[in-house]
Symmetry: C3
Subunit: 355 residues, 3 copies
């Protein structure tokens, strides 16, 4: 984190072409709209090009083929987004360090196995039989239940709960308030409609390089395993029910819900607020657009939309027809009048027809 | 938890009929798709019958009247699901025990009343005037606010917050990250659109045998009581606003939201991602299908669907018509042509009519 | 909190007109439906007027122009809701006090700056470089990350996580299990569909007088700032993605989700379970009704509804047409018959026409 850089230095660093004063001092980064004099910003999404006219930034990273005008310095680069990322590391504070060691306020069971260079932060609880792999960080106030197994280089944020027997691979990130291994929602019902809990004796397993968002809930399996594949990315406030299986590299955007025992294929993308009913198979590579509600199996590769979710083109066609319903209604009314007129004329011609 | 059992032993234990080798060694349990040689699995849902052909399991529990074939041993039983549950307890680790006692790291107010055989786990906080009934378990990092009253045999998971004055019956289970008694969302608005908080002075009361899922939020009443009935089961990530009343034995599946002051009847089932607007009455025994959005009172016993939610048959009929809209549009176009033709012929016949 | 009041005293206190026995003893408050003899309740929403006939309350606060009958005492007042609020403070326990001081079990970094009269409750964690303004309350088990800055008179409930570099204004309230500053959901994707995390180096800033509900998640910006304006009220279980900007005095009702980089104007109201796609601008004063899904920019002042959200009148018209689809279908069928009849008659008249 440096305090200032010159525009020329920045252009050199990102391999860009500067149009403007090389000695211009840049002291910070910001978005196009929020930038103040002295800031550098970037324009990656052409949607925002109009904002260039009004930005107060002193310099803007733009695409190599950008041919617009601006009142500030421009640095043309191949990938403005990536270049901005590179520049930004100079102007943002680095993330905190969590040095190895067990904080004296942490409660770690005697028989827990803590790997090398692990950070167990303040007020963490690590229960009996848990094993934590090398270099893993429990930031603080984390709960690791009995006989959990965490791999190497995990990063577990405050107020995460990992219930008993949970298994995490390597390089897994879990965000705050997430719950791994809560009981599945399973009951038997008697003839009076009173429910009795079915024991949920399985666990949750999460693959290498997966990331689980804040306040995500992943239920343990009734038996066996609720399984999250390698490289799966789950955004905040998603719900994953018991015995769900999520294939490698799938993506769940925020507020998605997946009901019990459904199987989500590899590289599936479920966009925000989508839902999947229980006991379904969603094939590899399926994309469900935002708010889709999947109620039956989806073949691999399909793009679906709407509720109940249907192939995108079909759903879009139906949706367009719905929007034009007022016009259709109008047309039917016109046809009705034309028919009435025809009927009247035929009536006339009929009645006037010579006997 | 034993290591292995013989197929004959298992059949005897569940009162089933074995077709296969009685000496076959079974060492684990799994789902049909996930089972490995040596595992026993079960087929309860006929939907999965086709998977029997490819399962690698060594034995499968099937229904008494199952007449399909399989390459592995079959055990015919009355209720394969229940039988599997029985067998599975031999092969899954038992849940952890939480022996009575107050962990030295727990912070318990001097005047809190802690019942017999209560477990107060590490880093729990129990505030002044709280009372905790016998045999209740606070696993760890639980917050119990001032003057809360918890009954007997409750089970409160890590990172649960029970705010001041909360009242829980007996045998209540609350899952991690749930919040009981957060402030209701109530403001007065001035003529500039600036909101002032209305004090939320009531509390939450939860009946015997209720279960509250992970990251569920239940707001305290403005005055009086947000009331969750006996035997109510609430799945993860549901939201229950201030002054809501939920009748005994109702079921809320994941991600359901209920707005302020609505009254949900006894034995109501609200399926996943459903919503209920404020100040409504949802009658006893109502079933709202997944994603339903209830915007007006629903009479007892009705099954509703869609948004705005309507009686299921009506909603299904409308939905079917929507799906057939492209065809209706086509038909209207055809009619238009036939009318134009009729008009043309009448025109001809009119003009050609002898004067 | 007193034990009883007389009806006459209450009427005097709220400046109302009593119809009934001034010596009547009132010992509690409750809703119309839940009230027991001895309770006072209120009728503000005319929708509930019918319940007056069956309430068991001893007295009811009603509007000055109320002309119905009741079996109990009535107190006519200008604003029954406000009057009830006034009365209720006599009958509800006051909220707990959180006196200044740092609980010995709290872990506060040496270089953290704790203002005057701050309450740091049991098992809180305050990391290095954090600053907490005067009179702020951290109830207990709160996490305040490195170099966070909290203003004066904040109130932070149990199990809140405020990640590093978070900035809170004055009088901010954050409810339990909320997460401020979790990583934004940003990845680069390679040609095999494998995602690599893009560092999320920005932070979250929350304005004065904002309130954040239970289990709300607000992601830190990729760079710069996810910004929540002054006086913004966010209900439980909402999701706010990275780089979102929410204007002053906006309101987000429960379970709303806002995708990355969208800008929500001042005084916007997003009702329950609404969603906003990414990179959109929602103008000042927009109202999105419950469950709306906003997929494109919305001009200031518009009221929108449905998914994809459309101006309310247009959406309502389309919706009404959809509900009448079965009738439209029926009408088209009738027209078809009339056309067939016309065709038949023309055919007849044609064939019978003299050559």
């Amino acid at each position: 984190m440096t305090t200032t850089m010159r525009a020329g230095e920045i252009a050199a660093q990102v391999g860009g072409q500067l149009a403007g004063d090389a000695d211009l001092e840049i002291g910070g980064i910001a978005g196009l709209r929020e930038a103040q004099p002295g800031d550098i910003t970037f324009l990656a999404n052409p949607k925002y090009a109009a904002w260039l006219a009004t930005t107060r930034a002193s310099a803007v990273l733009v695409a190599a083929d950008f041919d617009g005008e601006a009142a500030c310095a421009l640095i043309r680069v191949k990938d403005p987004d990536a270049a901005f990322g590179q520049v930004a590391t100079h102007f943002t504070p680095p993330p905190p360090a969590y040095p190895p060691g067990i904080h004296p306020s942490a409660i770690v069971a005697e028989d827990a196995e803590i790997g090398e260079e692990v950070h167990v932060g303040p007020c963490c609880v690590v229960q009996a039989g848990a094993r934590i792999g090398p270099r893993t960080v429990l930031v603080g106030q984390v709960y690791v239940g009995h006989r959990c197994t965490l791999g190497a280089d995990n990063f577990i944020h405050p107020h995460v709960t990992i219930r008993e027997h949970g298994v995490l691979g390597d390089r897994v990130i879990i965000h705050s308030s997430a719950v791994i291994g809560s009981d599945g929602f399973g009951y038997s019902v008697d003839d009076k409609g009173v429910r009795t809990k079915i024991p949920q004796r399985g666990h949750v397993a999460i693959g290498d390089d997966a990331e689980v968002g804040a306040a995500v809930t992943i239920d343990r399996a009734r038996f066996g395993c609720t399984r999250i594949g390698r490289g799966v990315k789950i955004d905040n406030l998603c719900q994953i029910a018991h015995n769900v299986v999520i294939g490698d590299h799938a993506v769940l955007v925020s507020q998605v819900g997946i009901s019990g025992s459904s199987v989500i294929g590899r590289h599936v993308v479920l966009a925000g607020q989508a839902g999947v009913a229980g006991h379904l198979v969603v094939g590899d590579g399926v994309i469900a657009e935002g708010r889709s509600g999947i109620t039956k199996d989806v073949p691999a590769g399909q793009v679906v939309y709407g509720f109940p979710a249907a192939p995108r083109e079909q759903a879009a066609r139906v949706h367009a027809h719905v929007q034009r319903l007022p016009r259709l209604k109008e047309k039917v009314r016109t046809l009705e009048q034309r028919i009435a007129e025809l009927e009247a004329r035929l009536q006339d011609s009929g009645s006037s027809a010579p006997g």
